[in-house]
Subunit: 138 residues, 2 copies
DNA sequence: TATTATTTTGCAACATTGTTGCATTTGAAC
DNA sequence: GTTCAAATGCAACAATGTTGCAAAATAATA
């Protein structure tokens, strides 16, 4: 088991349960974004569907993972780089979604260019979702 | 009825039906993004739910409207500026979603800054989804 | 305009996805 | 180990999205 798992849960004052450990491990191993459905598939019958929903929700609230917007009604989740601060506002972020294999990448080190909006708009968060073909699919 | 409606449908070789006229009119009037649920509510019992799904799908395929990614499993749709070419690839786009009132704005005239991705990624589309407070809500 | 061919719609049935309340179980604290 | 708090699983439900097919509306043709 990945050493960071228990650490992360403790730091966020969460009880250390099987489902949380397992789901967190999936994120740490895969190093890519996961949708609810992915987790459900990978964990087989191990956990109830409801537990997965609640676990993801908890992780998002604690800033352990964050959501990635998508245009097809299938929100994906990815690990936050070193846990965002609690209550989390994940400022700037670039994601890449491969049209071919569907893999979603979370590109933490790509800087989001400043977006200038018309006056009156107060921006607190900018998500950039790029899509195309990833390195594995071309 | 908005004069562009019949035009737009004809140009896209679509039969001119009540549901299409009505839904297209909603987009032309509202000048903001609409979710499936919005349309369903606004049209009351007038059309079947299935018809709305199929109409939206058709409009997207024809490039009359486009989808706006969201982080909450509720894809929204907005009119394409002067219909994208058929088969449509909507290159660059900035959207703004108000955390307060939920209104989604489609900012066609804001330029999307170039995003530089690691080599190996071939980008065909970039969506920028900003969120915060809109001018009506502050 | 009347007739035929094509397209679209509505219905029904179904599949998938997400939510809520509550009893039971598990983990944490003592 | 016992007690308390938290998390899980189950069941039931609500919401959302999909498919096939007959009926209706639209378009094309005479």
């Amino acid at each position: 088991m990945h050493p960071r798992i228990v650490d992360t849960l403790k730091r966020n004052q969460l009880s250390i349960t099987d489902s949380r450990k397992k789901i967190l491990e999936m994120f740490l191993q895969r190093k890519g974004a996961l949708a609810h459905a992915d987790i459900e598939q990978q964990s087989g019958e191990e956990f109830d569907r409801v537990t997965i929903y609640r676990t993801l929700q908890t992780f998002v609230e604690k800033g352990i993972i964050h959501t990635i917007p998508s245009a097809d009604n299938s929100v994906r989740y990815a690990l936050c780089k070193d846990d965002c601060s609690e209550g989390h506002h994940h400022d700037n972020h670039v994601h890449f979604m491969c049209d071919h294999c569907g893999t979603t990448y979370c590109l933490d080190h790509v800087t989001v260019p400043a977006v200038v909006l018309p006056s009156g708009f107060k921006v607190t968060q900018v998500d950039v979702v790029a899509s195309g073909t990833c390195m594995k699919c071309q």
